[in-house]
Symmetry: C2
Subunit: 192 residues, 2 copies
């Protein structure tokens, strides 16, 4: 009797191919046949791992988002002082965007278009809770401005996405110096 033996390598190859092709062409301009080809797999095989094209995209999105948040909160504990904790998390986010550029670009595209189901989008948000808690703590301690988390995010985290996209287009270079400037700008806009 045979057991489940679907290969995790094939699944991963499919996910990587999806990320890369969606980054370069957009979701709807990416045929399943191309994803299959890039993953060295038959088109029919995709349907052993995913229900359909939309399900493939949703699953890729959620898994990449999980990888992102898990990366971001490594080494962070809720008892870290606010300023240190923020700097730590901010730098991990910047690291992720630099080192896992493909994944980060993919997330940026999903977050800015209607290609992702609303429910999958919601699911991707849950994991940011530790950052929201940190901000709340910072506001209670009078360190951070009493702003909506959306404003805090817009001015301290989101700019990194913009800079990454610009770097990807060859217009800008994120290096040690510009990262330091970016962090200072972020901190100045949200701290009291």
């Amino acid at each position: 009797m045979a057991k489940l033996q679907k290969s995790i390598e094939k699944r991963n190859a499919l996910i990587q191919a999806t990320i890369s092709l969606v980054n370069n062409n957009g979701f709807h301009a990416t045929p399943m046949s191309k994803i299959a080809k890039m993953a060295n797999v038959s088109p029919a095989t995709i349907y052993l791992y995913f229900e359909n094209k939309q399900d493939l995209l949703n699953k890729v999105y959620i898994e990449v988002k999980q990888a992102f948040t898990s990366y971001v909160f490594t080494n962070y504990t809720p008892d870290t002082p606010v300023a240190d904790g923020f700097k730590l998390i901010w730098n991990r986010i910047a690291d992720f965007k630099l080192k896992e550029m493909e994944e980060a670009l993919f997330l940026a595209q999903c977050d800015n278009t209607p290609i992702i189901d609303e429910t999958s989008r919601q699911e991707g948000l849950i994991h940011l809770q530790p950052l929201l808690d940190l901000w709340k703590r910072g506001q209670e301690e009078g360190i951070l401005k009493p702003m909506s988390p959306y404003l805090l995010y817009a001015y301290s985290i989101n700019p990194l996405s913009f800079l990454m996209v610009m770097q990807n287009r060859g217009a800008f270079k994120l290096n040690e110096e510009t990262l330091e400037e970016a962090f200072q700008a972020a901190w100045n806009s949200i701290s009291i």
Copy 2:
């Protein structure tokens, strides 16, 4: 003999339909037949006004971008003091995003995906020159941090796009109070 009599109304209807449908479904998930239907026009008629689907998108992008920049720099002259000029331009951008939400969302989607030709994207950037000049002046006067324009943009202008998208998704409300907070955050991150 008849002269050119292609109706500007039809062209505008096509542009509006494209903006609305692309906002809701994305470019590649929007069939020409739907654009035609929404514009009360036959599919074939689209090809009297635009070469093909990609040309339609490029033209819509460029025209909306022009409307945006022309709106943004109304009332600004290059001899306005830096701080006043920045506040003026920043508020016009915020106004545009609030009052012409459809157009602004459309631009945001185009700026964050590979659906637009690189050349059209370039063409859309040209018109920001007055803002770049203002920033240069501000840096020479020691009012603004000596940062790359990309950093200045990331921390003072781009956050508005994020907030608009969030407002569109019902998660956040841009009103007089939050706009004031947003402007303060922007100014704090770029000024010395």
